[in-house]
Amino acid sequence: METSIWRPIIYLVGIMAFAGVNAAYLGWCERKGAGRIQRRPGPKEVGPAGLLQPLADGIKLMTKQLLVPQGVDGIIFRVAPVIAMIPAITSMVVIPFSGNIQARAMELSVLLLFALASLAMIAILLGGWASGNKYAIISSARAVSQNLAYEIPMLLTVIAIVMISGSMNLRDIAIDQQGGFWHWNIFRFENGHFLYMWVGFIIFFICSIAETNRAPFDMAEAESELVAGFMTEYSSMGFGLFMMGEYLNIVVGACLTATLFLGGWDCPFGQTPGVWWFLLKIYILIFTVIWVRWTFPRTQVYRLLNLSWKILIPFSLVNVLVTAAFIKVF
């Protein structure tokens, strides 16, 4: 692998641009999507079709005062929003956007992604803890228990994928699925094996929604019971960074789902693979996440944990066992 100085620079610029555009415009997409689902037009005043709305929101947030209330833990309070952003951007190092567009094709990149996903949870914990606010701390405690519960089935389904591909390198996993949608892990019908992989996909998708604290699993934010949870005391860009971190986590989750289950940059019909297919897949997944958010009301904490411990974890364990048996026996 080359070690030219240009590679990290191009990576930094490219990823920052991708992350910035996504963090800003997913907010717009979310509001438009929510509007259409509720038969409203969504933002439409600022610019054509409201396209300048994210810019206006950003300027508004930046011109506001970053209020640090009395009794907060000053340093942690200021650092937490940054920690929310960093893992999301860093995760994109190992995401294979296409065969040629990837910053680093690390071995163990799956492991790195999950380590960084846990860091995002720590940002929520620190933010809630430092705020010195009872809603914020309840919210952080919820976020931690939720993330612990949903990381287990997520990792178990990924283990099944890693066993099939025989690699923890996202690029190798994607290359393993090239050549049309019947090679993708979700419909991997080779020799009649792995007919049940769509179960793993559904488990993974549910867990990725829960990991990013999105509705219907937004126990941490829960604006109707906990005001805004860990974000209650944040104003200005502190709040803005948390929001951007949330959207970036959705993007990373969609990238991971697309790479692990939907063949990465592969074309469904076996021709013209490329970055456009990858982007198409992740935006379809992101749209589904938005669609789910505006369809289902928030669950309760114990139901959330029941779903994970009683349904998702047993299913993913069986998934791992059956996959191992298939690989060993056939």
Binding site: R36, R39, R40, P41, W291, V292, T295
Partner: protein, 146 residues
């Protein structure tokens, strides 16, 4: 264990039903009325403040100043004056002042009118900082409309 599998199946089915409903709504046209740019059409029985009905031929008010509306009004909102002009058979209006600050839109005036001279308007843009804006000269309003 009883109910475990049926819970999963019934739950998944109801989740899918919900998703289908929102997907259908997503593709249906929006129902928002962009109020300041689009003026809504008021419904048939909407009650704005009262207004005079013009004669279809002359455009003058149908009112013959019989004072029935003024007597019918429970809040003394209406004060009108009429006189018989040279050459006319009936009396006609000199002034018709509605004090909308006291009006409760009960409609007794419209009911009491026997000459098809009074009706509810469809006026609804009535916000103002000035109390005097709600003391409305209906005769002048009718002339302005013509």
């Amino acid at each position: 264990m009883s109910g475990y599998w049926s819970d999963i199946l019934v739950g998944s089915k109801s989740l899918l039903t919900g998703m289908m409903i929102t997907a259908r709504e997503f593709f249906r046209p929006v129902v928002t009325e962009n109020y300041p740019y689009e003026v809504p059409v008021m419904t048939e029985r909407f009650r704005g403040h009262i207004e005079l009905i013009p004669n279809e031929e002359s455009g003058k008010p149908n009112c013959i100043a019989c004072m029935a509306c003024q007597r019918a009004c429970p809040s003394d909102c209406i004060s009108l004056k009429g006189s018989k002009k040279e050459g006319d058979k009936k009396k006609s209006l000199d002034s018709y002042i509605l004090d909308f600050t006291k009006c409760s839109l009960c409609g007794s005036c419209v009911e009491s009118c026997n000459f098809n001279a009074l009706r509810f308007s469809k006026e609804y843009n009535l916000a103002s900082f000035n109390k005097d804006d709600f003391i409305i000269d209906l005769l002048k309003r009718l002339e302005d409309q013509n």
